[in-house]
């Protein structure tokens, strides 16, 4: 299963609820404002640090770049491009876009 979150962890509880319900071995893609959660500064307060061992965490590079966060992703998060986004959706049997 692929979880997709697009809101900042400081703006809404979407990421927090996603992390509460995501199961070990599942994938999480952070897009748009959610990429702040994958930065060195945001990873601990957002809860991302705590799930890097159990979830596969991805961040959409164009959204990271757009926000001036290039080079600031925390170790363990994989940056992907739009093609990688499509691959992730195709690889997983289902997905949930958290609003």
């Amino acid at each position: 299963m692929l979880h997709i979150v697009n809101k900042s962890h400081t703006q809404t509880n979407a990421l927090a609820s996603c992390l509460r319900l995501a199961q070990a071995g599942q994938a999480l893609l952070l897009t748009e404002d959610a990429v702040y959660a994958a930065t060195v500064a945001g990873a601990a307060p957002s809860g991302i640090t705590g799930v890097l061992q159990t979830l596969k965490v991805y961040a959409l590079q164009p959204d990271v770049d757009a926000r001036g966060m290039a080079g600031k992703l925390v170790d363990g998060v994989t940056a992907i491009d739009y093609g990688g986004f499509v691959d992730l959706v195709a690889e997983h049997t289902n997905n949930q876009s958290w609003l």
């Binding site: 509460r20 319900l21 199961q23 289902n94 958290w98």
Partner: protein
């Protein structure tokens, strides 16, 4: 047409946004096509099911009675996350329809087995 497992994830309070009402509309459409429909209520979505809603004073139609009509469309799988309900000081007695209360872990299992998940 093959039946798919559809889950509608409701995480918004009823009147602040249009999500709750839109979710109900799409649920009814899915039910019309004889799909296997589950509704889950997480976070503020639990507030959608609270008894005694009366939005007359804010000029919005009260759509909450529609939840009671869902079983007429063979939509009988309503699930509430226990943690979300308890965090809001609610119990099953406060809700306007019978639901199955699940832990977060049970909710996660249910979510993982769906074909299609729609967020509201």
């Amino acid at each position: 047409m093959a039946t798919k497992k559809f889950m509608f994830v409701n995480r918004k309070a009823p009147f602040g946004t249009v999500y709750a009402l839109e979710s109900l509309e799409v649920v009814l459409i899915a039910a019309t096509f004889d799909q296997d429909v589950s509704l889950v209520f997480i976070d503020d979505g639990v507030y959608e099911l609270v008894k005694g809603q009366n939005p007359k004073g804010i000029g919005i139609k009260n759509h909450s009675p529609t939840y009671r009509a869902l079983d007429g469309y063979d939509v009988e799988k309503l699930f509430v996350e226990r943690e979300s309900m308890q965090a809001r000081g609610l119990t099953e007695a406060d809700l306007l329809v019978p639901v199955e209360v699940l832990s977060g872990a049970e909710m996660a299992d249910l979510m993982a087995e769906q074909d299609v998940i729609l967020s509201f």
